[in-house]
C-alpha cells in the first residue's frame, strides 16, 4: 500500500497535464475560494445584522441547523439534475454548505461582545454603524474568523466528494482511482485533500493573527489565564 502511494507520487506523469497534481490542486482551490467568497458575501452581512440588532437570532440558529442537516451529496446531485452543469451545481451546493458556519460564527462573535462594552459605546454617543464597525466587529473578529476556518475545512472535504457529479479537483483521484481499483491513486487523492486543508487552515490562522487587534488577543489571553488559575 505504502509502496503504491510512493509510486504514484513519484510518477512524473501524475504531475503533468490536465490530470496532474498542480492542475487538480488549483482547480480544487478555485472551487473552495469561489464558494467561500460567495458564502461570505451572503452570510456575513446577515450575521452582522442579526448579531447587531439582536433581531431574528432564533430564526437564524434554526435555519442554520436545517441547512446543516441537508445531505450535501444529495443536494449537489439534485442541483446537477436541475442545472445539468456540474460546476454550477457543485458551487451552489458548496455555498449552501459554507453559509451556516460563517453565519453562526459572525452572529456568535457579535453576541459574545461584552454587554458593558456595547453599552458604553452606545452611551458615549456612537450611532449604530459606528458601534458595529468600530467596536463590535473588531472585537468579534476571532470568532467570526473561526467560523470562516470551519467553513473552509468543510469546503475542502466536500469539494472532493463533488467530483461525483463530474467536477474536477482532487476528488477526481478518489473517484477515478476507485473506478480502476488503483488504491495508490485513491490514497494520494485523500492525502492531497488533507494537505490542502491543513495548508489553507495555516494560511487563515496567519491571517487571523494579523487581523485580530492586539488588545483583543491580550484580553483573550488574560481570560484564559483567569480560567486556568
Amino acid at each position: 500500500m505504502i509502496g503504491e502511494i510512493i509510486d504514484w507520487f513519484t510518477n512524473s506523469a501524475n504531475w503533468q497535464g490536465e490530470d496532474g497534481v498542480p492542475t487538480r490542486v488549483l482547480q480544487h482551490l478555485g472551487y473552495v475560494l469561489l464558494s467561500l467568497v460567495i458564502a461570505t458575501v451572503i452570510a456575513v452581512p446577515i450575521g452582522l445584522y442579526v448579531g447587531h440588532t439582536g433581531r431574528g437570532g432564533v430564526l437564524l440558529v434554526g435555519s442554520g441547523n436545517v441547512i446543516r442537516a441537508l445531505p450535501t451529496l444529495g443536494l449537489v446531485t439534485f442541483l446537477f439534475l436541475l442545472f445539468t452543469d456540474s460546476d454550477i451545481a457543485a458551487i451552489i451546493g458548496l455555498v449552501v454548505l459554507a453559509i451556516p458556519p460563517i453565519l453562526a460564527g459572525t452572529y456568535a462573535g457579535l453576541q459574545a461582545v461584552d454587554r458593558s462594552v456595547v453599552d458604553a459605546a452606545e452611551g458615549m454617543g456612537m450611532r449604530g454603524g459606528q458601534r458595529l464597525w468600530q467596536i463590535e466587529v473588531p472585537i468579534a473578529l476571532p470568532i467570526v474568523l473561526g467560523g470562516v476556518r470551519n467553513a473552509v475545512l468543510q469546503l475542502v472535504a466536500t469539494a472532493a466528494v463533488a467530483a461525483y457529479v463530474g467536477l474536477g479537483g482532487l476528488g477526481r483521484y478518489l473517484l477515478d482511482g476507485l473506478a480502476i481499483l488503483d488504491y495508490g491513486e485513491v490514497a494520494a487523492g485523500a492525502i492531497l485533500t488533507a494537505l490542502l486543508a491543513i495548508v489553507l487552515d495555516l494560511v487563515l490562522a496567519t491571517v487571523q493573527r494579523a487581523l485580530v487587534p492586539r488588545g483583543v488577543r491580550l484580553a483573550e489571553a488574560g481570560a484564559k489565564k483567569e480560567v486556568s488559575a
Binding site: 461584552d114 462594552v117 458615549m124 456612537m126 488588545g215
Partner: protein, 363 residues
C-alpha cells in the same frame, strides 16, 4: 437649572414598573447620589437621562430643555457616562479609549490624543499607561480610565452607575477621594448610582433614597437622611450605624488639641512616667513609647508601640473619635495637612463636642 425629572414613570414591556412617578431636581455643580436596594430603579432612572432608556411617561429637562428634543447620539456625546465594569474597548489603547468622544465629535486626531493624555494625568495615571490595552490594567486603573473617558466629553453632566463597586474596598476609597478632589476642581453636575449607603453619604451633596417599585423615599442632604429618616424603610436602609456615620458631617473645629510630650526617633530619651509620642525628623508620628519604658541608647522604631489611626485637622469629627479609640495611649494623634503631629485629643473631648451639637452641623 440642572436636571429635572417630571413625573417620570418607566414600565418595561414585561410589566415591571422600574420607576414610578419620579419627581426630582438635581442641582448644577453637585453630586447627587441615587441609592437604594437592588432592583429599585436606580440604573433605569440614570439611563433615562442620556436616553439609553426612554420613559413611559413624564419628561426630563436638562438645562431647561426637554431631552427628547435633541438627537439621542448627540445628547450622549455631551454627557459623560461611567459604568460598573468600565466597559473599556478592549481593542483600543487607553489613550484611544479616552479620546472616543472627541473623535466622534470630529476633533482631529492629534488634538484628541493630546486631550486624552491630559485627562490621564487628571485621573492620576502615569503617562506610560496610555499606550497599554485595557487587559493590561488593574481594575482600579480601568475605572480611572473609564472616568477619564467620560470627562473627555468636557460636558457639565456626568452619569456614574456603580463605578467603583467592582474594585476592592481600599481601592474604592482611593477612587472616591479622587472623585471628590476632581469634583472640587471641576464642579460638574454628577449623578451617581450606588447601593452602598456609606458611599452615598461620603460622596453625595444630596442623596435620593429609592425604594423597590421605583418610588422616591427621601431626598435630602446626607446628614438629613441619616438624622431624620422619613420612615422605617429609610431608617432601615441607612442602617444601625447611622448615628456614628452622622459624625462624618460634624466639623471638628472646636475640638481642643492638647500638647503631648514627644520623643524623636534616633535620639536618646530620658525616662518618664507618661505616654510619649515618637516622631521622626519630619515631625511625623511613628508610634508610642509607653509610660516608664526605658530605652538603652538611641530610640529605634522597633521599640515603639504601633500608633492608631491619625486625625487630620479640619476633617470631620468621625476621624478624631476613631483616632482616640484606636490609640494605645487613648490619645488620638492630630496631624496637619502635611502629616506633622500637632497634638492629641481624647475620646472624652470629642464626645463633649458632639454633645454640644445635638442637631449636628450639616456641611
Amino acid at each position: 437649572m440642572g436636571i429635572e425629572f417630571r413625573g417620570i414613570t418607566k414600565k418595561y414591556p414585561d410589566g415591571t414598573v422600574a420607576v414610578d412617578d419620579l419627581n426630582l431636581t438635581i442641582e448644577d455643580g453637585t453630586i447627587t447620589v441615587l441609592v437604594g436596594p437592588s432592583g429599585c430603579g436606580k440604573t433605569t432612572s440614570l439611563r433615562m437621562i442620556n436616553r439609553m432608556v426612554e420613559p413611559t411617561s413624564g419628561s426630563i429637562l436638562l438645562e431647561g430643555e426637554d431631552i427628547r428634543d435633541s438627537d439621542a447620539a448627540l445628547l450622549r456625546r455631551g454627557i459623560g457616562y461611567v459604568i460598573q465594569h468600565a466597559g473599556l474597548f478592549p481593542h483600543r489603547t487607553v489613550l484611544s479609549n479616552i479620546a472616543t468622544v472627541p473623535l466622534l465629535s470630529g476633533w482631529d486626531k492629534n488634538k484628541a490624543k493630546k486631550r486624552a493624555a491630559e485627562l490621564l494625568e487628571v485621573v492620576g495615571l502615569p503617562a506610560e499607561v496610555g499606550k497599554r490595552y485595557p487587559a493590561q490594567l488593574s481594575g482600579g486603573q480601568q475605572q480611572r480610565v473609564g472616568v477619564a473617558r467620560a470627562l473627555a466629553a468636557d460636558s457639565p453632566v456626568l452619569l456614574m452607575d456603580e463605578p467603583f463597586s467592582a474594585v476592592d474596598p481600599v481601592v474604592r476609597e482611593g477612587l472616591q477621594d479622587e472623585l471628590l478632589r476632581l469634583q472640587s476642581q471641576l464642579g460638574k453636575t454628577i449623578v451617581f448610582v450606588t447601593h452602598d449607603i456609606d458611599e452615598a453619604v461620603r460622596l453625595g451633596d444630596r442623596v435620593a433614597v429609592l425604594r423597590v417599585g421605583g418610588k422616591l423615599a427621601q431626598y435630602g442632604t446626607p446628614a438629613e437622611v441619616l438624622r431624620q429618616p422619613v420612615d422605617d424603610f429609610v431608617a432601615g436602609f441607612v442602617g444601625k450605624d447611622r448615628g456614628y456615620r452622622g459624625l462624618s458631617f460634624l466639623a471638628a473645629d472646636d475640638v481642643l488639641v492638647e500638647d503631648v510630650p514627644t520623643v524623636r526617633v534616633g535620639s536618646k530619651p530620658e525616662g518618664s512616667d507618661g505616654w510619649r509620642l515618637a516622631v521622626n525628623d519630619a515631625g511625623e508620628p511613628r508610634g508610642w513609647l509607653a509610660p516608664g519604658s526605658v530605652v538603652d541608647g538611641e530610640l529605634v522604631e522597633g521599640e515603639l508601640l504601633a500608633g492608631g489611626s491619625l486625625y487630620q485637622q479640619g476633617t470631620p469629627i468621625r476621624g478624631a473619635l476613631d483616632a482616640a479609640l484606636s490609640s494605645p495611649a487613648s490619645l488620638g494623634v492630630v496631624v496637619d495637612a502635611d502629616g506633622k503631629a500637632i497634638g492629641v485629643v481624647t475620646a472624652r473631648q470629642v464626645l463633649d463636642v458632639i454633645e454640644n451639637h445635638p442637631e449636628g452641623v450639616a456641611r
